[in-house]
């Protein structure tokens, strides 16, 4: 049985959530700063994820800092930038082994929390600026990262389709910002962004592990005391129906084409009522026993992969597939045919029953991983509706076949994105 997560306010706009479970051998402490995603600030905030991990006043040297983490049993400091809806999230996490497994009885929770606090609150900013050389190295990395997004063609195709569907909504911006944005950042603008982040961002702190979270809670309660007013988490703009289909083709040097279809699914239901559309999407293409997998991939061999996913936050369904160039038209037709079948209720009860079983399995497994648990609860907090995996299981069990069909009938095709090679091979120059 899973322990419930305990979330309590720590300061203005700052919450601390703790989930203790003796089965974990590690403790993971994360601080998520949540800000509205905006073109003009996205790159500065993304830079902070790179700059703050380089050192702090008590340990300004990057090499010495890494050595400190080595001595803390290889404590892993990881930083990340996420996007959930129209929110940009700058995350800093430290994971290390539980105190039970130390050789010398060290208090690792306390030491890691202190280190993380110092990195976040005492950055290497002097006279309103980060060090220019260090900044330049990190900015180059950010630019490379943005340019390298194209390396993973499957992810690139999905991101492009999402961007096209957003049509200017902040939720369709890239999480690291644009290339132009990255080029415009300066050591001063990043330093200013740090002040805004510390003073105004929404902050969600998580402690997940077998250890005692109270040391970490105290450290951050002190750090965030006397904070100005909090910000609200932003919901994305929901487009309930597609009025027409926009088509976009991009040419690159690829051996296999990527086809991504983006659909609207109606108004976003409250979390407790999302089970029907989630189940509809899973029956269509969410599991290895789904219609897309079995019919389009396995029976007709039209795609190497073909899967559907639903975004709870934007109420969008995406179907992404990897296809041989010659099969693009046939695959598209086959995918849409499966969707028509779903809308018409042409799926058997067993398929639905088995899909529910698989979804329940996935929901029950959330509690087995600290990372998955954190991801689950952070998303719930940003959606503004706290629910546990168990509640979601119960909601799934109540969904009827009619609910699935009704949900499927609200699905409309909005965007078709194709990444392919020009006939005769070779990439486009653009």
């Amino acid at each position: 049985m899973t322990n419930p997560i305990l979330r309590r306010p720590l300061a203005q706009g700052v919450s601390f959530s703790a989930l203790r479970d003796p089965k974990f051998k590690l403790n993971r402490l994360s601080v998520h700063f949540i800000v509205p995603l905006r073109e003009e600030t996205a790159s500065d905030y993304a830079m902070l994820s790179l700059l703050l991990r380089k050192g702090c006043r008590s340990c300004p040297d990057f090499t010495q800092l890494n050595r400190k983490f080595d001595w803390l049993y290889g404590a892993d400091l990881s930083t990340d930038v996420l996007k959930i809806g129209a929110n940009q999230i700058v995350t800093f996490s430290v994971t290390t082994i539980d105190d039970r497994y130390t050789i010398g009885g060290e208090r690792l929770v306390f030491e890691c929390a202190q280190m993380l606090r110092e990195l976040l609150f005492e950055p290497l900013i002097e006279d309103g600026t980060f060090d220019a050389d260090s900044f330049e190295v990190e900015r180059r990395y950010l630019i490379d990262t943005i340019e390298a997004e194209i390396k993973d063609k499957r992810a690139w195709a999905v991101a492009e389709c999402t961007r096209l569907m957003g049509r200017g909504d902040p939720a369709s911006l890239r999480k690291y910002g644009s290339l132009e944005g990255a080029r415009k950042t300066t050591p001063q603008s990043a330093a200013a962004a740090w002040h805004t982040l510390i003073d105004t961002a929404g902050v969600e702190i998580f402690f997940i592990g077998s250890g005692d979270p109270s040391d970490a809670e105290r450290v951050f309660a002190d750090a965030f005391a006397d904070r100005p007013a909090p910000c609200r988490y932003l919901p994305p703009r929901i487009v309930a129906r597609a009025e027409s289909v926009q088509e976009h083709t991009e040419y690159l040097q690829v051996v296999q084409s990527k086809l991504v279809l983006g659909f609207r699914t109606g108004e976003r239901p409250p979390i407790g009522e999302q089970a029907a559309i989630r189940l509809a999407v899973a029956v269509l293409g969410g599991t290895p026993s789904s219609k897309l997998f079995l019919n389009v991939r396995e029976k007709r061999s039209l795609c190497y992969y073909c899967a559907a996913r639903y975004s709870r936050i934007s109420a969008v369904m995406l179907i992404d597939s990897g296809i041989e160039h010659a099969n693009i038209a046939a695959a598209r037709e086959a995918i849409l045919h499966e969707l028509d079948d779903l809308r018409a209720g042409r799926f058997d009860d067993d398929t639905m029953k088995f899909t529910v079983l698989q979804m329940i399995g996935a929901l029950k497994s959330v509690s087995d991983s600290a990372g998955a648990s954190e991801d689950w609860y952070l998303n719930r907090i940003l959606l503004g509706e706290m629910s546990t995996p168990q509640e979601e299981i119960e909601a799934l069990q109540r969904v009827t076949r009619d609910d699935v069909v009704a949900a499927a009938q609200k699905i409309t095709l909005d965007t078709v994105y194709l990444l392919t090679e020009k006939q005769g091979g070779g990439a486009d120059d653009n």
Binding site: N66, G74, Y101, Q358
Partner: protein
């Protein structure tokens, strides 16, 4: 039935090692508090096993590249249909993979464990292929191969192995080539299956939320004892030298990718796997984030946060690899070689060693904390003949002299190679 309990006071954990009368070894680790169970049924048949025999009197049978992976795909299909369809009825998540040295079939579940285990055991022990199904699979796998041909991460890795190894099948793609898989027939698959999928050559590892008695009961019910077999693979005549110190390819990347490999001197399977941790520690001491060399390269913009290292260890190979993104991969290679020579000359500092060892200790502890990684360790422990907790004890007992020896023997600058993937228009 011989049952042995292996426990670790250090980790406060234990598992059972059962020699089932069928010949199969069971490695069973119930883990309290977990919702899920994870089962891994593996055979010692990987992509490097391209030539084998089961009796010293026979000649070696040579099979097409990619056959182990092909067999994995085909075993997922039975007369009753696709394995995914069968697992769908129990709610389990299933998959399979082929690596250099093994093929594994797996599932994870939170309910109906026994039914899922029955599916797993049945699918692995009941091969079903016809010429028609083999032909269809050739099309599917050819697509998979083409997808990997597009993947810069995959290519940079295999290219470095091509540069390091003359004759070792390590350098051939795990899935084979579009041409080699065309030679695969149902008969060849059965030949391969009968040799490698003997229960004496296999292990079933389970970790998480399950009762060991259930596993034994399913095995009693479904498994027929197999005659003991020793599968001998062809001896590989691999010189210590590299094929070429540099290899490059052009693919769509924004920043060039690189992979640097040091060809090590392999010992036995057990020795190679147990030396993995010391190899990682040495890699960390050479160019880990706590070193001066890392700092210099990082500050000069020659490497970035994607830089990583790993030790590739298996039955008859041992190599240390360093990978990342760089606009000047050759400069990274030269500086790393200089760093190796310098450390070999001045020797490893004791305090640095202790620091790197402590970090490795923490990293390894995390492996025992997840059901998937635990099942993976249990499998390797059986194949390579070590105790699953021995890995951690090894790190605790390591000395700086072990690290010095690894550095001396497995980091010859003349036995190193650099693989680079360039982007089209960017450089």
């Amino acid at each position: 039935m011989i049952t042995e309990t292996v426990s670790s006071p250090r980790m406060d954990g234990e598992y059972l090692r059962v020699e089932h009368p069928s010949g199969l070894t069971l490695m069973l680790c119930p883990m309290k508090g977990f919702s899920g169970a994870y089962a891994l049924f593996s055979t010692r048949c990987g992509s490097i096993d391209d030539s084998f025999r089961t009796s010293p009197d026979q000649p070696f049978t040579r099979v097409p590249e990619g056959i182990a992976h092909f067999l994995e795909h085909k075993l997922f299909e039975s007369e009753e249909g696709d394995a995914f369809e069968q697992y769908a009825k129990t709610g389990a998540t299933a998959n399979a993979f082929t690596s250099f040295d093994r093929t594994a079939y797996l599932f994870g579940c939170t309910d109906r464990f026994e039914e899922s285990l029955e599916i797993l055991v049945n699918l692995v022990t009941h091969p079903y292929f016809t010429e028609q199904t083999v032909e269809k699979e050739q099309g599917i796998i050819a697509q998979e191969i083409r997808m990997y041909d597009d993947s810069p991460d995959w290519r940079v890795f295999f290219n470095v192995l091509c540069a390091l190894y003359h004759n070792h099948p390590l350098h051939t793609d795990i899935a084979g080539t579009v041409e080699s898989i065309r030679e695969i027939t149902a008969d060849l698959l059965y030949t391969c299956y009968r040799s490698f999928y003997n229960l004496n050559n296999m292990v079933l590892a389970v970790a998480g939320n399950f009762d060991p008695e259930t596993v034994v009961r399913v095995c009693d019910r479904l498994l027929t004892p197999a005659e003991p077999v020793i599968v001998e693979t062809r001896p590989i005549d691999e010189p210590p030298t590299v094929v070429q110190p540099y290899i490059e390819q052009q693919l769509e990347v924004a920043v060039p990718l690189f992979e640097i490999g040091f060809k090590g001197k392999p010992g036995s399977y057990r020795e190679n796997l147990l030396s993995q941790a010391v190899g990682e520690i040495v890699g960390d001491l050479l160019i880990g984030e706590g070193t001066q060399l890392y700092r210099e390269l990082y500050d000069e913009g020659l490497i970035n946060a994607t830089f990583d290292s790993e030790v590739l260890a298996g039955p008859n190979y041992l190599a240390t690899l360093f990978s990342g993104e760089s606009h000047e991969p050759k400069a990274v290679f030269d500086r790393l070689l200089a760093g190796v020579r310098r450390l070999q000359e001045i020797g490893i500092n004791l305090q640095d060693f202790e620091r790197a060892r402590r970090a490795a200790y923490g990293r390894y502890i995390s492996l025992y904390g997840g059901i998937e990684s635990m099942a993976g360790i249990l499998t390797l422990a059986q194949f390579a003949d070590f105790g699953a907790y021995e890995l951690l004890d090894c790190i605790a007992d390591l000395t700086v002299n072990d690290a010095q020896a690894f550095l001396r023997e497995n980091f010859d600058p003349d036995c190193a190679a650099l693989s680079v993937i360039h982007g089209g228009r960017h450089d």
